[in-house]
């Protein structure tokens, strides 16, 4: 048996959390140690995830690093772990963004520090679990498990309306989970298996059942992504969440929705997905235009980026349901890019918030001259969000629309309006922050990037350019998967 790297990856953060729990002594020292323990744990996890990446065989469309153990024999439920080219990047991204989350909370989180880092560690375990579990029940447990630490992070370390927001977040996603669970149980009842690899490869569900399952999964992931019109939890959750919460929420949690669409709708229910594709694409286009316009009207920076996230996720579903190679590829790249860019933009807002404690768009101004390094960094991420070619944002958006145009041009034409609106709201934000004259004397006294902040932004900056100039590094991992998804003979041949 090979080294169970995925299980180890999942357990390391948990051990880190346990270690933090055992820390005793003076409060300040415990807090300091908790930060360092969390940071090292996340770094080790990330390093190990890179080992995963380097040992991955990109030519192989199947799942790799498989682990299989009997979990509950009477019910035919197994502990199945494994990653393919689609999920592997999300495992690595989860670890990377957790590092950013810990670093950005270094000075800004001052209450219940050990507990906060335990929550982050557990969150990391759960996220890795979601993206590397191949048994429905196991996956569901992780999927739900993500909610709890995030709920605490928003509810305890959040802003003034944190109770309302965390509740709204929880209620919305629980509703989705409920339907997801029902769908999973139906699959189990229908096929007697909860093994995703077997389900994808060997079971073909009849179309009428597929459609019902699709509806349930769709609702669940539509809330998670989120898609219009079940997106309203997101802006509230972001506004109240601490910076680290927003980073993880936008960077990873939303991708669980996109990942879910890929696995459960496109892969598991291909016929129903094809049938419903026009509807999903119309919803995506509506989301793109609607939320871009709403983003244009926001005064709170976090709310604005939150709405822009909804728009970007619209490009994910647009590409996915085009059922073209470029569309699926684009959807993947939009997700990967948005992971980096949205996280970075929330970190940028965190940079400003840490200094002036306001997220009002009009409270800043002139940062290009006051904190020039920060202004350059933010410019890069702004451009990536706008989708400027050469940055990560472009390739995904371009391919997803290119794919969608081949099958549904009219819908795509509307979605493409989002490209114009995206430029409008992002440049409006950038202008308000970095150009013009400072709004107050406090702005003039703002200090530029610290080494810790450079350490947060530098890797993200590198990735944004890397993915823009040579996305093949990332996309080559899942080309074989996309090929097999789109080969019709793959489904239904084996009953």
């Amino acid at each position: 048996m090979q080294f169970p790297i995925l299980s180890v990856l999942t357990i390391i953060p948990l051990l880190g959390a346990l270690f933090i729990a055992t820390l005793r002594g003076d409060e300040a020292i415990v807090a300091k140690n908790a930060r360092w323990v969390a940071l090292w744990t996340a770094l080790i996890t990330f390093a190990l995830s890179l080992v995963l990446v380097f040992n991955f065989d990109a030519a192989n469309a199947g799942f790799q690093f498989m682990e299989r153990a009997v979990w509950f024999a009477p019910a035919n439920i197994y502990y199945v772990r494994g990653v393919d080219g689609i999920s592997i990047w999300f495992v690595a991204a989860s670890a990377l963004l957790t590092i950013s989350a810990i670093l950005c909370s270094w000075n800004s989180i001052t209450t219940r520090v050990p507990m906060y880092h335990m929550a982050l560690m557990i969150l990391l375990t759960m996220m890795i679990g979601v993206f590397s579990s191949l048994d429905l029940i196991l996956l569901f447990v992780f999927f739900e498990g993500v909610l709890l630490p995030m709920f605490f992070i928003i509810g305890i370390w959040g802003g003034s309306r944190r109770i309302y927001s965390s509740y709204k977040f929880f209620l919305y996603t629980m509703l989705g989970s409920l339907f997801m669970l029902l769908a999973m149980l139906t699959i189990y009842v229908q096929t007697g298996s909860t093994d995703l690899t077997a389900l994808i490869n060997h079971h073909h569900l009849p179309l009428n059942i597929q459609v019902w399952l699709f509806a349930a999964f769709f609702l669940s992931f539509a809330i998670k992504s989120p898609m219009w019109p079940v997106h309203t939890w997101l802006p509230d959750a972001h506004v109240e969440a601490p910076t680290a919460g927003s980073v993880i929420l936008a960077g990873i949690l939303l991708k669980m929705g996109g990942y879910g669409f890929m696995r459960f709708c496109i892969q598991l229910l291909p016929e129903a997905s094809q049938l419903m594709a026009p509807l999903v694409m119309i919803l995506s286009a509506v989301a793109i235009i609607y939320t871009s316009l709403v983003a244009l009207a926001q005064q709170d920076m976090k709310k604005m980026i939150a709405y822009s996230s909804v728009a970007h996720m619209g490009f994910v579903t647009l590409g996915l349901f085009s059922f073209t190679h470029q569309g699926l590829d684009g959807a993947m790249l939009v997700m990967l890019s948005h992971t980096i860019v949205s996280a970075a933009l929330f970190l940028c807002i965190g940079f400003m918030y840490d200094r002036l404690h306001t997220r009002e768009i009009t409270a800043y101004g002139g940062l290009a001259n006051i904190t020039p390094h920060f202004a350059v960094v933010m410019m890069f991420f702004t451009l990536a969000s706008v989708g400027l070619p050469g940055t990560s944002g472009f390739v995904g958006e371009f391919l997803s629309m290119l794919g969608a145009w081949q099958t549904h041009p009219t819908i795509t034409a509307f979605a493409a309006i989002g490209v114009i609106l995206g430029a409008a709201y992002m440049l409006r934000l950038y202008r308000a922050c970095c150009f013009g004259v400072p709004a107050t004397q406090d702005v003039r006294r703002m200090k530029d990037m610290t080494p810790r902040e450079w350490a947060i932004f530098a890797p993200l900056l590198l990735l944004v350019i890397w993915m823009g100039v040579y996305p093949t590094t990332f996309s080559s991992f899942y080309q074989a998967n996309l090929q097999s998804i789109l080969t019709p003979a793959h489904h239904g041949a084996v009953k």
Binding site: Q326, L399, T472
Partner: protein, 644 residues
């Protein structure tokens, strides 16, 4: 050498931008300017290789996008069209770099400025050397970015920020068309590499129907029109032209390089590049001709009402871009590039000359505060005359050759659209002469209207600024007759080989047989316009006011710039955020939240209060109850199933 020519400006930009602390401001100026000088020298060698000897080459740099059947790479395509553009871009850019050292010498952040200029040059070179549509789009957006940064260079000024955003967003509207055009090309050919697409065009490009909005469209026509929308944005054609005059908020060297000589001509370059597609889309070509002709007219008309020296030149640029576009639309591709080529020199000269005047006048740009400057600025005055005569199309200056050729080709065209463009073109030649001479006469002639106390410190620009003016003046004098035979004359078919198919350009040969009056008309119109300008601004200074009173209706239209800005301002600039606010208040909060989560919450807490005394007041407790219930549900279902 090809790779060095394209990428050295990027390196220079990075060094000047990020290494300012190390190399210093002066170092940044020297590094960027010297780099561009070197690039310009290499461009001459490349021009000889690719235009002179007629070679073509594609130099691979790096693989880029690999998705299914779509394979795109970063690569440099060199053919005669590219060689011409590279020559124009690097030479004008080198001159503008040099000029900027003098022009910006008081600005503390001029290292940043030089860095942006070099970045722009790199992006423009990537655009013209692209071998696929997507790299072209990379350069296309990249020059847009550089333009945005440079227009907003004085970022403490709200007007500069407004103009920068407007330029970026209006160009995005064009890009919207451009990307959809690229998608349609991919739909047609399954590829985006130029060679493959153009090679397949005659077979795969014809008789294909594409359904959009439920209606059938001829696919290649649709693709060309959509791509043209991109050109409308970038080349400031009617409808998306409103950003260009505002872009004059940027420092004057920027206006010369980006908003006259190079970036704004990218649309024309693109139309010529896709000539194998345009050849198959006559309807699209007619649209292009009409839009170009109307642009030429509207730009010239608005220029009459402007008193800001840079704004006049800007509207003149818009008008001249119209000429290039309708030339491309009439398949006179060589003539379009010829005019692009000569225009780059004389318009950069006019802008930099205007910059020298503005520099001397302490950043006063209103011509009503100039007057009689020829005694103070004799060199600038003479150079401005050269630029103006070239713009007017007076022989033997450069503009004469190119503008004449375009209009002859329009006349030789067989459709009513090209004849319309010919008529408009001659009229606009007349108008151009009048408003251009207005610049000369109001600035350099008449009595001084500036504050005479400052008269003693009005002096000629330093050498760093004058040298570029002389070089560009040489271009404005010579580029026309030197290039004529090759670009549009007897050797044109051979010259453009590998870039423009000879059979696409039969119209240039047909133009040989135009009647004599057609060949003379543009020049005569220019001379007449010049005479009218002299009459209005030297001989009878009250005449313009009399015209304005007499035709007050027309005057109001041109003073309001045909109301484009006003309408767009209300509909888009103010409308979109308003709609966003309404959707937010009444869509998100008023409908979705009200009947969704908040409604559910209200209902559940209402029920909760009735059903249970356990209510704690903390909403998240309910969520935990739900989670517990879920876990129980899973357990029950699993064990129930297992037991059964």
């Amino acid at each position: 050498m090809e790779i060095a020519t394209v990428f050295l400006p990027l390196i220079a930009a990075a060094v000047a931008g990020f290494g300012r602390k190390i190399v210093g401001t002066r170092g940044a100026e020297i590094i960027t300017t010297a780099t561009l000088g070197l690039c310009a020298a290499m461009a001459i060698a490349l021009f000889y290789q690719y235009a002179g000897l007629g070679q073509t080459a594609v130099i691979p740099v790096l693989s880029w996008i690999n998705s299914g059947t779509l394979h795109l790479s970063w690569s440099l395509r060199f053919d005669v069209l590219t060689a011409v553009m590279v020559l124009v871009v690097t030479s004008v850019s080198a001159m503008v770099h040099l000029y900027s050292i003098g022009y910006m010498h008081e600005d503390p952040s001029r290292a940043k400025f030089m860095s942006y200029l070099s970045l722009f040059t790199f992006m423009m070179l990537m655009l013209v050397t692209a071998n696929n549509f997507v790299q072209m789009f990379f350069g296309w957006e990249g020059v847009g970015l550089a333009s945005y940064l440079l227009i907003g260079f004085y970022n403490h000024k709200p007007s500069a920020n407004d103009a920068a955003m407007k330029a970026f967003i209006v160009n995005r509207v064009g890009d919207f068309g451009f990307v959809l055009g690229i998608f349609t090309v991919f739909w047609l050919f399954g590829d985006l590499q130029f060679n493959n697409v153009f090679g397949a065009a005659p077979t795969l490009g014809v008789n294909r129907i594409f359904y959009l909005f439920g209606a059938p469209f001829d696919a290649i026509t649709l693709a060309c029109v959509l791509l043209f929308i991109g050109a409308v944005g970038k080349s400031a054609q009617l409808g998306l032209h409103t950003w260009l005059p505002d872009a004059m908020e940027g420092p004057t060297p920027v206006s010369a390089l980006i908003h006259a000589a190079t970036m704004v001509t990218a649309g024309v370059f693109m139309l010529v590049r896709i000539s194998p597609l345009l050849d198959l889309a006559p309807v699209a070509r007619n649209i292009i001709v009409v839009v170009g002709a109307l642009t030429a007219f509207v730009g010239a008309a608005i220029a009459f009402a402007q008193f800001d020296i840079k704004k006049v030149v800007a509207y003149s640029t818009m008008s001249q871009l119209g000429y290039m576009v309708f030339a491309a639309g009439a398949t006179a591709y060589g003539a379009a590039i010829f005019h692009l080529f000569t225009h780059a020199f004389f318009k950069a000269l006019l802008f930099l000359g205007a910059g020298a005047v503005i520099h001397a006048m302490h950043h006063e740009q209103d011509m009503r505060h100039y007057g009689g400057l020829w005694k103070k600025l004799p060199i600038t005055y003479a150079l401005m005359w050269i630029g103006t005569l070239a713009l007017l199309g007076i022989p033997p200056f450069a503009g004469y050759f190119s503008k004449d050729m375009i209009l002859e080709a329009e006349f030789a065209g067989v459709t009513g659209f090209t004849h319309f463009a010919f008529g408009v073109g001659v009229l606009v030649a007349f108008m151009t002469a009048t408003y251009s001479s207005k610049v000369i006469f109001m600035t350099f002639h008449g009595r001084p209207r500036y504050d005479l106390e400052h008269a003693h410190d009005i002096h000629e620009a330093p050498l760093t600024m004058l040298i570029p003016l002389f070089v560009l003046a040489a271009g404005a004098l010579l580029s026309g007759w030197l290039a004529y035979d090759y670009f549009v004359g007897e050797h044109h078919a051979l010259f453009w080989e590998g870039a423009i198919q000879p059979k696409s350009e039969l119209i240039l040969d047909a133009a040989e047989h135009d009647p004599l009056w057609v060949k003379l008309a543009p020049t005569l119109a220019g001379l007449l316009g010049l005479a009218l300008g002299w009459l209005c601004y030297v001989k009878e200074p009250d005449l313009p006011a009399w015209f304005a009173r007499k035709f007050s209706f027309l005057n109001r239209i041109i003073e309001n710039k045909f109301y484009f800005d006003k309408v767009y301002g209300v509909v888009f600039a103010a409308g979109a955020p308003l709609v966003g606010k309404l959707l937010w208040r009444y869509g998100d909060q008023g409908t979705i939240d009200k009947f969704g989560p908040d409604g559910a919450a209200a209902a559940s807490s209402f029920l909760g209060a009735r059903l249970s005394k356990l209510q704690t007041g903390y909403l998240y407790h309910y969520a935990f109850v739900m989670l517990t219930a879920l876990v129980l549900l899973i357990g029950w279902l699993l064990f129930g199933k297992a037991g059964a």
